[in-house]
Subunit: 142 residues, 4 copies
């Protein structure tokens, strides 16, 4: 047996609110998903004009980041034609997202979940996901 | 053309918080989902000990209630063997839930979404879903 | 944040071996699956004459037991026609197993995973799953 | 009629242990799957820090190698845009893996199964899969 940390719903609300706040500041409305370390949904917000197609994308970015334990944007280069992981995005029933906007949520050196955001440009999605992470770390450090 | 009412993220948080509060009072931890009138996810909370299998169930109860415009428990009787809608729960790729805990969210005589809850006994799920609806109506009337 | 316990691969081999030993004693060859608390596969053995259709069933019994935190056989009664959870086995993309042979794996009062077995009669599946659990608890207590 | 060779669970454990040993030596924790000649799961180990997204990938690399009777990495070149098998990885419901780390398991000139590994760099996955094969051949020759 080994021990691990788990996000609580209180943590999840901090993360979702942090991400929503950043999206509002950037004037882009997003779908924002938080999952546990097994990729299962913990919390979700759809901002009013976020895309419906981005619900699935946000959830699956969070899933991919949590379960591969890497930011989704790091898979862009290795999944390109000619690169060694070309085709990886077809795995996991197509849930493996290689578009930026999915980040692992860590506590110490442990991955405890993932956040995924979608509806904006990739840089916007990445910034909003990062704001969710930052809100969590500020909160935990208190 | 016609006009329709739409839930906002502010409304959704009211509904989720109302449901969570009731579940806490009842000492049962639940998955709580709110969807729009098209059955697409607007918001989701997983309470800390809610079941992982109930994520899918909560979301699909909300989907079924919103898109069929009826509470999910009303389908129990008609979906029994020998009853006229036997087999309906196989439709919609198995997403059609006939277990209680899914309620349409209405504004006037219009269905604007659905709430679905899961992890407790059916009566508990139904009470928590109703508390979400009640919180919404109290808020709207103010 | 909260803390949780996790099964290691060493634990998983103890569980699989304990279940295989019991199946051998009972002269029935089985598919045996162990999953984590999120329902994700940790280990799997197919005994030589175990059924191929039972691979999916064993894995999904383990998934259901871990993620609903209840033995799968406890869902038989409530999922019958006329009972309150009729239709629940259609949820989770049909992965929700209500046939005996899936048991949660616990450490203290915490569910840390699930075991699922299939290929025999239901009582045989249940006995083999229990033997896996027993092997784990004997090992942990040492 | 013809006769065929079949892997036993004893063989499968030799293969899994051989692969796990190599992964441990390389300080990378992996998901390791062994399937029969029909691509159906025979055995599986998840090492403690192996990726959850790699469960599906390891199983499907093993499936692809066994059922196409070729190493998965041999499909990389032919599946590139402009190459003759472009799109092949969409076949078999997306289970056709073209990333290295899947190898057929042979006995004489016969394919009797496949091994698939995932969580490391592609070269690491390939080395761990090969170590599983090597362990099997050493064992069979005794």
């Amino acid at each position: 047996m080994r021990t691990a940390s788990k996000l609580t719903l209180d943590d999840v609300k901090i993360i979702l609110e942090g991400a929503q706040k950043k999206a509002t500041e950037m004037s882009v409305e997003m779908d924002i998903a938080v999952v546990d370390e097994g990729g299962h949904l913990l919390g979700f917000y759809r901002m009013d004009k976020a895309k419906i197609t981005s619900i699935d994308i946000a959830i699956n970015k969070a899933f991919t980041a949590a379960c591969s334990r890497r930011p989704t944007h790091e898979y862009q280069a290795v999944a390109q034609p000619g690169a060694p992981a070309y085709g990886v995005n077809m795995s996991n029933q197509g849930r493996f997202m290689i578009v930026g906007g999915g980040l692992p949520i860590t506590a110490g050196d442990e991955v405890v979940g993932g956040i995924g955001t979608s509806s904006g440009k990739v840089e916007q999605d990445m910034a909003v996901a990062q704001a969710g992470i930052d809100a969590f770390h500020s909160y935990v450090q208190k």
